[in-house]
Amino acid sequence: MNQPLGKDDLARLIAADIPDGAYVNLGIGQPTSIAHYLNPDSGVILHTENGMLGMGEIVAADQADGDLTNAGKQPVTELPGAAYFHHADSFAMMRGGHLDVCVMGAFQVSADGDLANWHTGAADAIPAVGGAMDLAVGAKQVWVMMTLFTKGGEPKLVPSCSYPLTGKACVTRVYTEVATFHITPGGVRVADTYGITFEELAERLDVSLIRTQ
């Protein structure tokens, strides 16, 4: 029996699923690590919402250019064929449906593909949304990369999100350490499992699951 995926394995898996030549936005946090596993020959081009296509790798502080950062404000490089644009143009690109894939983290995803990833709803939390809502409505495919369970063991793939939404019915795939889910008009299909059986998964989630034949 296979094993649950480590964070790097999960990033590698998602990287391999991104189609050649795709224009992709990788959200801040964990999804950023996917870039490291993209095949340079794939022709995948990274978008960063602060105004760039053709973003390269994260660089160390001693190589940092303060004018060149990713959406998480980490210093990055520029690849040949890059292009810079302002924020209205960058978000027109996102909202207008031109990005092939975006990958974001999440607090919760619902069986209908609702996404909650910006606010826990806690009274003392300072809310911050950034570009997540724009990505949620804009990218052709919205993929989520997350752990399937909270530290307390609660499932994060849920019948209905209890946290405030980022976007409705937008998520098409959920990549977790124990399973990959495809959210389809027919329901939630388990595409792969890692170190867990379909039956165990079905028991731990309060969501109807479809088995891949």
Binding site: A22, G43, I45, L53, P80, G81, M93, G96, G138
Partner: protein
């Protein structure tokens, strides 16, 4: 998805009868003549053409009109000294005309490309252009509601491209190209020269490659 470099005729093979085609250019500046010639050869008809003008002289858009391929023109300024082809078709009742103010034409295509559902525009309030349309007073000023104009295909002309599909334009020939590139399902660009990746300065790209599906080199 990755931009494909091809010849003009191959580039336009996906145009279908009945398509809405956005055609760049302000008069002949920025007019994608080689792509239009290929479209004429390709043969698609019953087209709706969105372009600022309705053809000049006998080449480019005028030639497409003369070939009888266009059912309807959506434009801001059809009547010109050299628009005899359109004028003849229009007076003979052989072509429909939808007149859209020039800024609305640009902004409605931008809205299509930017995922905006509709917008309130001050242009044309109190004029025949606003008749029958929804209006609203916002902060004491009256606006007319305008909807996006989407293309199945955009045919545009730029100056140079790199092999990824990044485009730069030349002088006022830039005009509608960058906006149309964002507003069509399939964007086909002709350029005078295709250069290697890295030869265009990332600061100066006007149309990023994400908006360009087919690239045709047409030296001039």
């Amino acid at each position: 998805m990755r931009t494909r470099v091809t010849d003009a005729l191959t580039a336009v093979t996906e145009v279908r009868d009945g398509d809405t085609v956005l055609v760049g250019g302000f008069g002949m500046a920025g007019m994608p003549v080689e792509l239009i010639d290929a479209l004429i050869e390709h043969g698609a008809g019953d087209l709706t053409i969105v372009s600022n003008n309705a053809g000049n002289g006998d080449t480019g858009l005028a030639a497409l009109l003369a070939a009888g391929r266009v059912r309807k023109m959506v434009c801001s300024f059809p009547r010109q000294a050299d628009s005899w082809v359109f004028d003849g078709l229009y007076r003979a009742g052989k072509i429909e005309l939808e007149l859209v103010p020039q800024g609305d034409l640009a902004e409605r295509m931008r809205a299509a490309g930017a995922g905006i559902g509709a917008f309130y525009c001050p242009t044309g309030v109190g004029t025949p252009i606003a008749e029958g349309r929804e209006t609203r007073v916002i902060d004491g000023r009256e606006y007319v509601l305008a909807y996006p104009i989407r293309g199945d295909v955009a045919l545009i002309r730029a100056h140079r491209a790199d092999r990824l599909g990044n485009l730069v334009y030349r002088k006022t020939a830039r005009n509608f190209g960058p906006v149309m590139a964002t507003a069509a399902t399939l964007t086909i660009a002709q350029v005078s020269e295709i250069v290697e990746i890295g030869e265009l300065d990332p600061e100066n790209i006007v149309t990023p490659s994400i908006y360009v599906d087919r690239l045709v080199e047409a030296p001039r």
